[in-house]
Symmetry: C2
Amino acid sequence: MSQSVWRESFRVRSNETDIHGLARLDGLFGYFQEAAGHHARVLGVGRKSLEDQGCFWVLSRCWMQIHQYPAWGQELVVRTWPQGVERLFALRHFRFLTEDGQEFGSGISAWLILDQEKHRPMRPGPFLDGIVLPEEPLVNGDVLVKLGSISDSEELRHVSAAYSDLDVNRHVNNAAYVRWTLDSFDLEQHSRRQIESIRIDYLSETLPGESISVRGREEAAGRQDIFGLRSTTAQPVFQARITWRDRMP
Amino acid sequence: MSQSVWRESFRVRSNETDIHGLARLDGLFGYFQEAAGHHARVLGVGRKSLEDQGCFWVLSRCWMQIHQYPAWGQELVVRTWPQGVERLFALRHFRFLTEDGQEFGSGISAWLILDQEKHRPMRPGPFLDGIVLPEEPLVNGDVLVKLGSISDSEELRHVSAAYSDLDVNRHVNNAAYVRWTLDSFDLEQHSRRQIESIRIDYLSETLPGESISVRGREEAAGRQDIFGLRSTTAQPVFQARITWRDRMP
């Protein structure tokens, strides 16, 4: 059987849900990341395989939209596949489906391959040679266009990168940044409205113990830009753009 | 088939692992909690059923020991069953097994049934009438003995209860307190040693936005007491005792 499209099932666990009993966005992010990791391994370009070649994957940008959040106990399927190379980015698309095949969300991710020594991006083409792209309807969205740069914004929250945020490379894991973004809004906001889409760009590695200032700026009704800056140097570590939709009353 | 013992499988996801590539304790806590919730429902005493009777479950105390932490991608089984009533506590024991049946951890939890109106504990007996206890070897441990009270300690960390910490009842979820405890130790400690056991007592509900001071006291070599206090009133919200073991060099 061809494995050019990867399918993986997850069931929403209680500690992945929020005050509405629905899956949190950082949980959905985790499911996608998990499925992507397994698929890469099956395609021969997993963490181990790249490590043997002196390289590693990093997620550079991700965009995701959720039409309807699944509830505690619901089974869902991540459907994901590589979608070629654009400049230095290896692209990977994904869809979230309910158990009976209804799409409730989708997204596009852009990955870099860095060399272990200098953390410089390599051209991904040669690594991905021979991987057949599936004939799968493309996800309609974009991660290649640049987000606006940082200007005036107000501080929403202060976080420091702790043990539970770090992965095996001692970097803050991708889903943790999404969690930091969610946590910079109070319950009043989370009660009134729901995140419809997020675009998140990973700009710099956050090291253990580092203090990050999460800042925000409301761009337009229902659109917000979020910036994570090193407290010491104001260097950006991540940037996100979220759109909200009002909850049904 | 009798369902007096519940078995549920989990696979360790990448965002549930730590700097060693091993499952974090708060993740294992989450697996147990998930399995316990499902089992309660099957036994007719799930969240919904208690709600209909004007009550709800709260985890009051939990003790857990882990001999060997599973790694990313490993499949594990939670085996859990109710173990009768002691005073106002409904007890539930559990074991963690590898895919091929080797025990790598175990624990005992003590739950209360509170009435929705005044949050007063009810006698659990009448609710649990008719639930047959299995003939399962007991887990060897204790949650009934009281932990020592709070005295001198130093502040390790400051946290505030955010959106991602809260459950559908708008209370901080049980696994989040374990995460707060883990995060109050720096990477040097997590690199040098590993948590062998934790006993955690939930003393008071933490409300959204509340600021909690996590304080610690080293009791003896490898044993540490942790206290979570409301920053405003110094009222304790949780208390934990952990034991550490040195990692193999």
